[in-house]
Every structure is written in structure tokens, then in C-alpha cells.
């Protein structure tokens, strides 16, 4: 199956939100984690569940709550009375697709429990280090930060998400379609449309997509543009943002059946790769500055490659 066909399968469940679905597939191809942000009720969780169900392999879901503990995610050591010894119980992070639902409802220490797994694809429990299955993708959803009872994600955590996708409200036409599709019996999810081997093959192919050297410089310039002194920016994007743009650019080219990356690919994925990696200043919050408008302005200041 080609990646474009997976998009079509996802679209049979999710009405509209084509950009959101495309971003999720890009993250899947680029071997990264995806963070979906939007108000409640916009099918963020359903989109993640549909992607997880479409990909064969283990799927786990963790509902993040304020009383969640790190061991609830990574696992813990428990005393086995029969053997008289401690044994390791692996947590739900040991899955191919982990849905971290409403990730910002848990405090930072729980979110930080995901850091090692997301970056190094391994988890340390006690003295033992366990490798996570391959592929491993965290699909996290979060409500907007101004919603009650939420915590801001630590910068180190957000930086580990390859892409952050903003989920918009559907159009009037789409909303009618949603009512028609989900107003009756529960919609069955597509099951194992692609295999783990398909995903691994896609990733390998995407890694081989050609990137002309000017585009590396272009991606670096886009990241560096966020680090220029600006009254609304506290911290700019890290070099990980540059790597993310290159990886996503390759994935986008592969999704469109090309063996090389255009500058447009980099430009198209830049907002999703940068928006969660730019820390706004206090003045920006006071001025109610919008991070996407800010990034658009910064991107416009960098000549296209």
C-alpha cells in the first residue's frame, strides 16, 4: 500500500481535517511523534485511534490525569510472592502506537516519564533498560492551554514531538457530514490496513529521498530566524527543529511519490515543526500574540531556497 492510500482510509472515518491526517501520516513516515492540539470535541482522539487501528501492531492508550504516576506509563517492579523475587511489569508505553490522550492534564513529572522513550526508544525501570518496539510512535492530544485543569508541557517534552498540529473546527458542510456519519451506529475503525513492515519500509524509503544541499541551509535559516532577537520570543527553535523540517520534507516528498525534496516541502512543514519549539515571551502573552502569525512573519523574512 502507498502512503496516499492510508490517507484515504483515514478519511473514511475522519470527516475533513485533511491537513491533520496528512500531518499524522507524515509523522508516521518520518519516524516522529505527533502532538494534536485543539478544543475538545474535534476528533483528535478519534484521529489517533483510527491511525493506530490502521497500523497493525500493539496499540495502547493512556488517559492522562492529574494523579497519574510515571510508573503508570513506563511500568514498575513488583514483588512476586510465588517466586519470592521482584519482577518487572511493563507499562503501556511498550506499544507500537501509544495514544497519550489529553497529555497536558498530567503534571510535568508524568509527561517527563515519556522523554526517554520518545527520544531514545528505550525505557529504564529500576536497573534494567528495555528497548521499545519498532516502530514506536506517540500520538498525543491536548486541549488548548487556556482550558481549566491543564499544565503546560515542558519545553524538553514538546521539543521531542516531531510535529504539532492544530486541529481546527470543521466547516459547516463538514459538520453536517459528521452528524450524518456519526449520528447512528458506532463507526467501525479500519483494522490493520498497513503492516508494521509497510511502515518500516516507508521509513527506509523516505530516508533515501534526495535533499539538495541548498535545502539544508534553507531549513537551518528558518530555524535560525526564530532565534533572532524579537520582543515576542523568549527562546527560538532548537536544531532539532531543523532536523524535523528535513525529515518531514522528505516524508512529504515520499507521500507525493517524489524522490527529491522541493523548497515548498520544507516551507509547508515549517509551521508544524516550529510552532511548539518557539517559546513566547511574557510580552507576547500580554500582547496576546499568536505563535502561528509570528512564525509566518519570520518565515516570510527568509528567502526561499
Amino acid at each position: 500500500m502507498i502512503p496516499g492510500a492510508l490517507l484515504d482510509v483515514l478519511a473514511t472515518v475522519i470527516v475533513g481535517q485533511r491537513a491533520v491526517l496528512e500531518a499524522m501520516v507524515l509523522a508516521l513516515i518520518a519516524d516522529g511523534h505527533v502532538l494534536l492540539e485543539g478544543p475538545p470535541g474535534l476528533a483528535k482522539t478519534l484521529a489517533c485511534k483510527t491511525l493506530a487501528a490502521s497500523v497493525g501492531g500493539a496499540y495502547k492508550r493512556v488517559q492522562f490525569t492529574p494523579d497519574l504516576l510515571p510508573s503508570d506509563i513506563v511500568g514498575t517492579r513488583v514483588f512476586d510472592q510465588r517466586t519470592g523475587d521482584f519482577r518487572t511489569v511493563l507499562g503501556p508505553i511498550f506499544a507500537n502506537v501509544l495514544l497519550a490522550d489529553e497529555i497536558n492534564r498530567a503534571p510535568a513529572k508524568v509527561q517527563s516519564a515519556l522523554l526517554e522513550g520518545m527520544q531514545e526508544r528505550q525505557v529504564t525501570i529500576g536497573l534494567e533498560t528495555h528497548a521499545l518496539p519498532d516502530p514506536f510512535i506517540v500520538a498525543a492530544t491536548m486541549n488548548s492551554l487556556d482550558a481549566d485543569g491543564t499544565y503546560a508541557l515542558p519545553q524538553a517534552q514538546t521539543d521531542r514531538f516531531l510535529i504539532k498540529v492544530l486541529v481546527p473546527y470543521p466547516s459547516a458542510e463538514e459538520e453536517v457530514h459528521i452528524a450524518e456519519r456519526f449520528g447512528g451506529a458506532p463507526m467501525p475503525l479500519p483494522h490493520c490496513v498497513i503492516s508494521i513492515d509497510d511502515v518500516l519500509a516507508w521509513r527506509q524509503a523516505a530516508r533515501e529521498v534526495f535533499v539538495e544541499k541548498r535545502l539544508f541551509a534553507y531549513a537551518a535559516d528558518l530555524s535560525r530566524a526564530t532565534r533572532r532577537p524579537h520582543p515576542h520570543i523568549e527562546h527560538g527553535a532548537s536544531p532539532r527543529a531543523t532536523l524535523s523540517m528535513i525529515a518531514l520534507g522528505r516524508a512529504r516528498a515520499f507521500l507525493e511519490g517524489r524522490g527529491f525534496v522541493y523548497p515548498d516541502d520544507i516551507r509547508a512543514v515549517a509551521p508544524a515543526a516550529l510552532r511548539h519549539r518557539v517559546t513566547l515571551s511574557y510580552r507576547a502573552l500580554a500582547d496576546r500574540a499568536n505563535v502561528d502569525e509570528l512564525i509566518d512573519a519570520l518565515l516570510a523574512s527568509v528567502p526561499i531556497a
Binding site: F210, E212, L215, G259, F260, V261, Y262, P263, D264, R267, A268, L299, A300, S301, V302, P303, I304
Partner: protein, 299 residues
Amino acid sequence: MPAALMSSLIGLVGIFGVAVADQPEWLHVRKFEMRVDRAQPRVGESFHLTIELRTVEPKTNCNNVMLPDFYGLDSLGDERRTYTGADGTDCTEVVTLSPTAPGVRTIAPATLDAMDATTSRPSRFSTNSVTIEALHAPLRTETIVWNTLIQMLKAAVVAILGVAVLIVGYWALRRVLPGLGAVRRIEPREIPPDHPGPHAAPIDEGERWNAVIAKLSAQPTRQSVLAVRVLLRDLARARDDEAFGELLARVAANTDPRILDVMRAIERAAFIDDEHLGEAVRDAIRALKQLAHAQRALT
């Protein structure tokens, strides 16, 4: 009865005690005077009022000195020094004051109630009074700057009015004397360009594309392709940050589809991998030839 007697005794002791406390000191006052360190302080500035008392007695209660009312002055603090020696006591009280408004202020004398040891009578000793003249507050820097700006503004207004009067006068004179100030008009002369600009259009559009084809055919490198890409973006008046997709969407409606084909082919050749570069350049040349042919047919 013993209780009543006791309370009467306590009452007598209390009255006696008060009488002893209220008894003025016996003093031989040698000096009791008042002075200021500045006679003309400015409003807001501080100055010192010094009251000196010298007595023969070795232990003098300087607390009995009554300070005058400092009307129109802010009292910023006081300091008292007492020196007791073999020849008596020197009390010096220094009060720091500051005028609150300009004008002349007379500070009334300080007084001291004591038993005059020379006459054995209760007496009220007084110092001299002191008169100061509080001057206006000094001008602040902002005020000086503001005044300077106002002065400059006034000068500018006067200058503008002067120039306006001159112009009106000149215009009136021109009305009266039409020949006044006539200037001989110099006809503009056309200057031939030394050399054509970098993007000056050739006479024939087909020729332009033939030149590009020749260059690409001779040097089918990425560098040549990128040079053509720059030329195409210049012709399309692309913004520096304008992505290719945005550019195509903008110009598609009013551009020859063959030019769009060339743009797509050049964009592909500019970023394709080295292995397929030759093939992409050939595709671009093919698209350019079709364009050149069509434009030559038009001309």
C-alpha cells in the same frame, strides 16, 4: 483609719514629687543664641538652624529648651550635642529645615525656663530671632529643556512666518512685474544607455529562450538550472519568500501554460538528485523549445 492615713501620705508624696519635677533648674546662662548657616535658601533646599546654650553649671538639662514654631518650613530632623566640662555645659541643637514656599520667614526665638542663679528668680531666657529669605526653587533640567524647546519653537514659527511673508511678497511682485525671476527652461536630453541591464528583455522573446536553451545544452549542470530558475522567478516577479506553489497559483491565470510547464521542469531539475539531473535538464530543454517555438510563431 490606717488605710486613709496611708492614702493621704501617698497623695502628699505624689504632690511633692510633681513639685520637685516641675521645679526649674538653677542656671547661670552665659550664652543662649540662634543662627542659620544660609540666609537665602531655595525652596526645597535644606539649611541648618543652630541653637547654642552655655551654662556655668556642669549638668544642664537641655531638654528644657523650647524650640520655636517653624511656620513655612519643613523640619527634616534634628541633632543635639552636649559637652560638659569643668567650666560648665555647652548644649548645641542643630535643626535641619527646608522652606516650603518662597518669601521672607522670621524664626521666633527659642526659649528656656530656668531659675536665674544670678537673681534667684524664675526666668524665661530667649535667643535672638532669625530671618531668612526663601528663594524660588532651582529650575529642573526638564524645565530648562522644555523652555529651550519652546524658545526654539518660537524662533521656528517666526522664521516660517518670515519666509511666508517673503514668498507672498515675491509672488505679489511677480504679479506686478511678470518678467521678474523668469528661468530659461532647459529641454531634457535623452542619454543613451551604456549597456543593457542584467534583465533587459531581448528584442525577441523566442531569442531569449533560445539563449537559455543554448546555455543549458552546453552546460547541463545544476548551477545552470538554478540560474534559469532565478531568471524565471524574476520574470514572474516572485517575492523572495514566495514558495513555488504560491507562485504558480498567482501567475497561472494570466500566463502561457507553456511557461508554467517550463517553470515546473526547471524547478524539478533544480532540486532533483544528481542521478536524474541530466534527464530533468533534457525535459526542461524540451519544454523551453516548445515555448520558444510557440513564441516565434506568434511573432
